[in-house]
Symmetry: C2
Subunit: 291 residues, 2 copies
């Protein structure tokens, strides 16, 4: 079964659009787990066992494991193995934000899908479609391309107005019909994040495996992106610790079938007093605004 | 000593602007090394011992190690450790192309600079300056921001014309003085890669630790970027297997002091019949065009 099929089944069975982010920063993993041999893994197992019937996906962020070197990579591997063995119905999204030239991306494909065995990965768009070929060829996997990220400074490049059509007009054309040409071009200008959304929808998604990442902290932009990307799933981080608003996010993000979003919360759930309670609360809150 | 100081010293001592890319794809590591317990590391040690007096840096690409899971991560760690112990004068650039929100980037900082102990890292610009704060704060490290990459499809986003100044003009202004405003804006438009170069030079580089990555396969763009970035070092992959031309690259890339470029070749050297000979040839060829 491909990523989309797996996702749709668990969304239905768990009645959930909630993804729990396994951002298990060792510095924040508490006393009891810290003493164990594999603290990040044991902590994750505890979170997973408490929340598996409330989520539609888990999203470990690779950075928090790589930070601990080999031990961290092992904890990430154990976490993925544990999920696949005990909860094979729940898709795993590796939040790794990779993106290199094609020959190097083959290495990241092996890391994510062979070594860890995840179902989906997050990717940078900056090198363009051609660079992502080793990922795009994987029809059964989920590829989440960064479109508008959740951070405060996301606007610096992502909100820049771009002139689609690539290269500037030839100088001759530009000279002969300057004002008219400028006007035509000005009408076409769109922010970079919307251009990325269009390229992904129109050109990158030939195998039906491309989706987008849009931060909950930008509901207006999320609404625009929903229009461009049609029914495709959008991964939405930024709820909880980062301050995204659940009502605005859900209303802006849902597709016509009242689905099509994966709403992620990491720190707000896993480092709370009671992760199960927090996960249930957020799952239900998301569902409340779906109706 | 900071990255820039370390680099300048080795450039002088080895009379070299050559970086050898340790892209030790296990599938291409040959028979003799493949049988050893740590094939990627043993292969790297062989390459390093043969070339250490010919280079100004080594650049392992993380993807080829992550591809092999824990063994690969261990080989990467061993390689960095070996370099630091035996050739501490040679800077290590981790080609990891990372880029996440700030709290996650802290994890990548730990991976690169604490666990591996490298001197520099490559980074994606898409999330903006604010996201990279945990890196930008490291005054002694080298940060190479992707500007114009070497791959065939780099133009898809990187060559897009953008309108600096961020947001579009307010609609009122746009309506009242449409043609005049359009003209002014049109004059300002620049390709995204040049905007990235400008932002990095003018805003991101407050600690003097930011440099750029520009592919050798785009000498015209390299020349433009040199104008924007001043004397700062540019990391240039794409020579050798990717087809970049040495003469064009060196002539377009050098700064006013006939330095300021790190020219990388990976596969063209490490998988050649005789890596030392190839490294020497390329080092000398680069120097030939420096004069």
């Amino acid at each position: 079964m491909n990523f989309q099929g797996k996702l749709e089944r668990i969304v239905k069975n768990n009645n959930s659009l909630l993804c729990v982010g396994l951002d298990s920063d060792l510095e924040r993993v508490t006393g009891k787990y810290k003493k164990l041999k594999h603290p990040q893994f044991e902590f994750n197992r505890w979170i997973i066992d408490q929340t598996h019937d409330l989520v539609c996906a888990y999203k470990p962020n690779s950075a928090f494991y790589e930070a601990e070197g080999l031990k961290g990579t092992l904890a990430l591997k154990f976490t993925c193995h544990y999920l696949k063995k005990n909860y094979p119905q729940i898709p795993i999204i590796l939040d790794a934000k990779r993106g290199d030239i094609g020959s190097s991306n083959k290495g990241y494909v092996k890391f994510a899908f062979d070594f860890l065995g995840v179902d989906a990965i997050t990717l940078h768009p900056y090198l363009g479609r051609e660079s992502l070929t080793p990922f795009l060829e994987l029809k059964d996997k989920g590829l989440f391309i960064l479109c508008h990220t959740s951070n405060l400074g996301a606007n610096e490049l992502q909100d820049l107005n771009v002139i689609p059509g690539g290269k500037a007009a030839p100088e001759s054309l530009f000279d002969s019909g300057r004002a008219r040409y400028s006007l035509a071009r000005m009408t076409d200008k769109i922010p970079l994040y919307r251009y990325v959304a269009k390229r992904v929808a129109e050109e990158w998604n030939r195998n039906g495996n491309c989706m987008l990442v849009v931060g909950a902290t930008y509901p207006k932009e999320l609404k625009e992106i929903r229009k461009i990307t049609g029914e495709r799933t959008i991964l939405i981080p930024g709820i909880g610790a980062q301050g995204g608003d659940v009502e605005k996010t859900v209303k802006a993000g849902l597709n016509s079938k009242k689905k099509g979003i994966i709403v992620n919360s990491s720190r707000g759930i896993i480092f709370s007093e009671n992760p199960r309670t927090e996960a249930k609360k957020l799952r239900n809150k998301i569902n409340f605004y779906r109706i």
